[in-house]
C-alpha cells in the first residue's frame, strides 16, 4: 500500500511537471519554434517531394531518361547489323567489279583482233592497233579503278555519316518519348499525391475527434472498440481510394507506354526510310556522275595504216564494251543501296532537334520546380496549421520558424512530427 502511494505521488509529479512544458517559464517565455525542414522529412508526402527533388537534380545533371519506350539496344543492334551487311556488300562489289573489268578487257581484245583479222590487217598495224586498244583499255581500267575507289570512299563516308545521323535521330526520338513518359508518370503521381492529401484533410477532423475519444482512459471497452473500428474504417477507406487510383494510373501508364512505343517505332521507321531514300538518291547521283566521266573517255586513236572503216569499227567495239561494263558496274554499285540519310538535311535537322531537346528539358525542369514548390507549400501549410493548433492549446504567445539557434524557447518540432505522423497513420 505504501509503495502504491509512492507511485501515485511520483506519477502525479511527473504528469504535472514532466510531460507538458511550462510555456511561461523564464527559459521559454511563451516562445516556441519549429524546425520546418525536419518536420517536412517526416510528412507522408515527403517521399513524393524527395522524388521531385531527385528528378530536378537528375535533369540538372543532364541525366537521360528513366525509361525508353522503344528498345534502344535493339535498334542499335539492328543498325550495327545493317552496317556490317553494307560493308560486306562493298567488299563483294569491289571483287565483282575487278573481275568484270578483266572479262570485258579480254572480250574487247578478242573482238578487236577479230575485226582486224577480218579487215586483213596483220603484223605491225594489227599489233599497233591492239597496243593502242590495250593502252586505251589500261587507261580505262585506271580511270574506272580511280572512279570506283572514289565511289567506294564516298559510299564509306556516306555510310559512316549516315549511321551517326540515324543513331542520333533514334536517340532523339527515344529521348522525346522518354520525356513524355516521365511527364505523364509524374502527372499521375501528382494526382495520387493530391488525392491522398485531400482525403487526409477531408477526414482530419473526424480522425482527430476519434483519437481524442480514444485518449479518454475512462472509455468503456465497447465504445473503445467502436472508435477503433471507426478509425480503421477511415484508414481503410482512404487506402482503398488511393489504391484504386493507383491501379487505374498504372493501367493508364502502361497503355501510354505502349502507345508511345508504337509512335516512336513508327517515327523511327519513317525517318530512317526517308534517310534511306535520300541516301540512295545521293549514291545514284554520284554513280551516274562517275559513269558519265568514264563514258567521256574517247576511243583510242588508231595508227595511220589502219583504214578509217576499221578504225570506226574498233571504236564502235570499244564503245560497246565500255557501255556494257558500265551497265554491269552500275548494277553492282546499286547493290550498295542501303537505307541511310541525306546528310546535309539530317545533320541540320539533328542540330535543330538537339536545341529542341534542350528546350524540352528546360520546360520539364520548370514544370517540376513548379510542382515541387506547390507540394512543399502544401506540406508547410499543414505543418503551420498543426503548429498553430498545438501552440494555441499549450498557451504559447508566439511560434517561429527559420530559427538559426535557440538559447531558450520551446522546440515544438518533435510534437509536430508526432502530430503529422499520427494524422496519416
Amino acid at each position: 500500500m505504501r509503495s502504491r502511494s509512492r507511485l501515485l505521488v511520483v506519477a502525479a509529479f511527473l504528469a504535472t511537471a514532466g510531460c507538458a512544458p511550462n510555456v511561461h517559464s523564464s527559459a521559454i517565455r511563451g516562445a516556441g519554434y519549429v524546425r520546418v525542414d525536419d518536420v517536412v522529412k517526416h510528412h507522408p508526402l515527403y517521399p513524393q517531394l524527395s522524388q521531385l527533388d531527385d528528378a530536378i537534380a537528375a535533369i540538372n545533371l543532364q541525366s537521360a531518361a528513366p525509361h525508353v519506350p522503344l528498345g534502344a539496344a535493339q535498334i542499335a543492334a539492328q543498325t550495327a547489323e545493317l552496317n556490317r551487311e553494307l560493308r560486306a556488300a562493298q567488299i563483294r562489289a569491289n571483287a565483282i567489279l575487278a573481275q568484270k573489268q578483266r572479262d570485258y578487257e579480254k572480250r574487247e581484245n578478242e573482238a578487236v583482233n577479230a575485226a582486224l583479222a577480218a579487215a586483213g590487217i596483220h603484223g605491225s598495224g594489227a599489233a599497233a592497233a591492239q597496243q593502242m586498244s590495250g593502252a586505251s583499255q589500261q587507261q580505262m581500267q585506271q580511270a574506272a579503278a580511280a572512279a570506283n575507289a572514289d565511289l567506294m570512299a564516298y559510299q564509306q563516308s556516306v555510310i559512316a555519316q549516315n549511321s551517326a545521323a540515324s543513331s542520333a535521330i533514334q536517340k532523339q526520338l527515344q529521348d522525346q518519348a522518354s520525356q513524355k513518359y516521365r511527364a505523364k508518370a509524374e502527372q499521375l503521381q501528382q494526382n495520387e499525391t493530391d488525392l491522398s492529401l485531400r482525403l487526409t484533410q477531408q477526414d482530419a477532423t473526424q480522425r482527430l475527434a476519434i483519437k481524442m475519444r480514444l485518449s479518454n482512459l475512462a472509455l468503456d471497452p465497447a465504445a473503445r472498440k467502436q472508435a477503433e473500428d471507426q478509425l480503421n474504417a477511415i484508414n481503410q477507406k482512404e487506402a482503398t481510394e488511393v489504391d484504386t487510383q493507383r491501379n487505374a494510373d498504372a493501367a493508364t501508364l502502361r497503355a501510354y507506354q505502349a502507345e508511345l512505343s508504337r509512335q516512336t517505332g513508327d517515327a523511327i521507321r519513317s525517318q530512317v526510310g526517308a534517310i534511306s531514300a535520300q541516301t540512295r538518291s545521293k549514291l545514284e547521283e554520284h554513280r551516274d556522275e562517275v559513269g558519265s566521266q568514264l563514258r567521256s573517255l574517247g576511243p583510242p586513236s588508231m595508227p595511220a595504216n589502219v583504214p578509217p572503216n576499221v578504225q570506226s569499227q574498233i571504236a564502235q567495239i570499244h564503245r560497246q564494251y565500255v557501255g556494257e561494263f558500265q551497265s554491269e558496274a552500275a548494277k553492282t554499285v546499286s547493290e550498295y543501296n542501303a537505307t541511310k540519310t541525306d546528310l546535309d538535311r539530317q545533320f541540320a535537322a539533328l542540330h535543330g532537334a538537339d536545341v529542341g531537346a534542350t528546350g524540352a528539358a528546360a520546360k520539364e525542369l520548370d514544370a517540376l520546380q513548379k510542382r515541387r514548390g506547390e507540394l512543399y507549400a502544401q506540406i508547410v501549410a499543414q505543418v503551420k496549421r498543426d503548429a498553430s493548433r498545438i501552440a494555441k492549446d499549450q498557451g504559447f504567445d508566439i511560434v517561429f520558424i527559420n530559427v538559426l539557434s535557440a538559447a531558450g524557447g520551446e522546440d515544438l518540432t518533435n510534437q509536430i512530427i508526432k502530430d503529422v505522423e499520427s494524422q496519416h497513420e
Binding site: 502511494s5 517565455r29 511563451g30 537534380a57 543532364q62 537521360a64 511560434v399 538559426l404 539557434s405 538559447a407
Partner: protein, 267 residues
C-alpha cells in the same frame, strides 16, 4: 493510510506546480511582424518598380550596344560596372525615399506598440503582433513621419548576418573547396551518366553522385555548420537572448550578434 496518501498526492501536485511556475518571467510579447509582400503591393511601390523596370530595359539596350565595341574582357567588365552603377543610383533615387519612409512608419508603429523587434511575417507561424495595416496607414498618410524619440528597447531576439559569416576565412575556404569538388564531380558524373546503357545504370550513377557530394559536404561543411551553431548559441546565452534568426528576416530592432559570432568562429 488513505489520508496520508491523499496528503502526499496533494503535496506532490503543489510541488510540481510550484516547480513549474517557480521561474516565471514576462512572456515574449514585444515581437511584431510585417507582411512585406503586402507593403510592396501599395501603388506607390508598384509605380516605383515599374519605373525602375523601364529604366533597366533602356539600360540593357544601351549596354548591349556598347558592349559590342568592347575590345577586351576588361573593357566589357568596365562597361558592365558603369551600367550597374547607373542602375543602383537610379534605384536609390526612386525607391530610396520610399524605403526611408517605410522604415520611419515601422519605427513609429513599433514605438507606439512598444515592440523591441519587427520580423518578416514569413517566419512567424503563430502569435506575434501584425503591424502591416498600421504601417500602411502611416506610410500612406500625406504628413511627414517623425523619427521616434528613442531607439527600440533591447530585444531578446538576436540576429546574425549569414553573408558576413560566409566571409570568415575558414568558411570561405571550405565553401570554395566544396564548390570546386562539386563542379568536378558534376562533370565526371555527367559524362558517365551520358554513357550509361540503361535507366538502372543511370539511377545508380545518380545515387553515387548524390552520396559523393553529400559525404564531402559532411566532411567539409558540417563541422563548420555545427561550430557556427554552437558559437551562436553560446553568444545568445551570454547576451541573454532567447532565439537567434537570420538578419534577412529582421525588419526593425533586434540584437545584432554577427561580430560576436564572427569572433568566436575566428578563434
Amino acid at each position: 493510510m488513505k489520508i496520508r496518501s491523499a496528503i502526499l498526492f496533494a503535496g506532490a501536485l503543489l510541488l510540481a506546480v510550484w516547480t513549474g511556475r517557480g521561474a516565471i518571467a514576462a512572456d515574449l510579447t514585444d515581437v511584431g511582424y510585417l507582411d512585406q509582400a503586402e507593403l510592396a503591393n501599395l501603388p506607390i511601390f508598384v509605380n516605383a518598380n515599374r519605373q525602375l523596370a523601364a529604366y533597366k530595359a533602356q539600360l540593357d539596350a544601351q549596354f548591349a550596344s556598347q558592349v559590342k565595341h568592347a575590345r577586351s574582357d576588361a573593357d566589357k567588365q568596365q562597361i558592365a560596372m558603369q551600367f550597374q552603377q547607373q542602375l543602383t543610383d537610379r534605384q536609390r533615387e526612386v525607391v530610396g525615399p520610399l524605403f526611408q519612409r517605410a522604415q520611419l512608419a515601422i519605427a513609429a508603429v513599433s514605438a507606439t506598440r512598444n515592440l523591441s523587434v519587427v520580423v518578416d511575417k514569413r517566419i512567424v507561424i503563430y502569435g506575434g503582433q501584425d503591424i502591416t495595416k498600421d504601417v500602411e496607414t502611416i506610410f500612406s498618410s500625406p504628413q511627414a513621419i517623425q523619427p521616434p524619440a528613442a531607439t527600440p528597447p533591447p530585444s531578446e531576439i538576436g540576429y546574425v548576418d549569414q553573408n558576413a559569416l560566409d566571409g570568415v576565412p575558414k568558411v570561405q575556404t571550405a565553401n570554395a573547396a566544396m564548390n570546386q569538388f562539386e563542379t568536378t564531380q558534376r562533370q565526371l558524373f555527367s559524362a558517365r551518366i551520358a554513357q550509361a546503357r540503361n535507366q538502372s545504370d543511370r539511377q545508380q550513377l545518380y545515387q553515387e553522385y548524390t552520396k559523393t557530394v553529400s559525404d564531402k559536404q559532411d566532411q567539409l561543411l558540417k563541422p563548420l555548420v555545427d561550430q557556427t551553431r554552437t558559437a551562436t548559441t553560446d553568444v545568445a546565452r551570454k547576451k541573454s537572448l532567447l532565439l537567434v534568426i537570420d538578419k534577412a528576416d529582421i525588419i526593425y530592432g533586434g540584437t545584432d550578434i554577427t561580430s560576436d559570432v564572427q569572433n568566436a568562429l575566428a578563434k
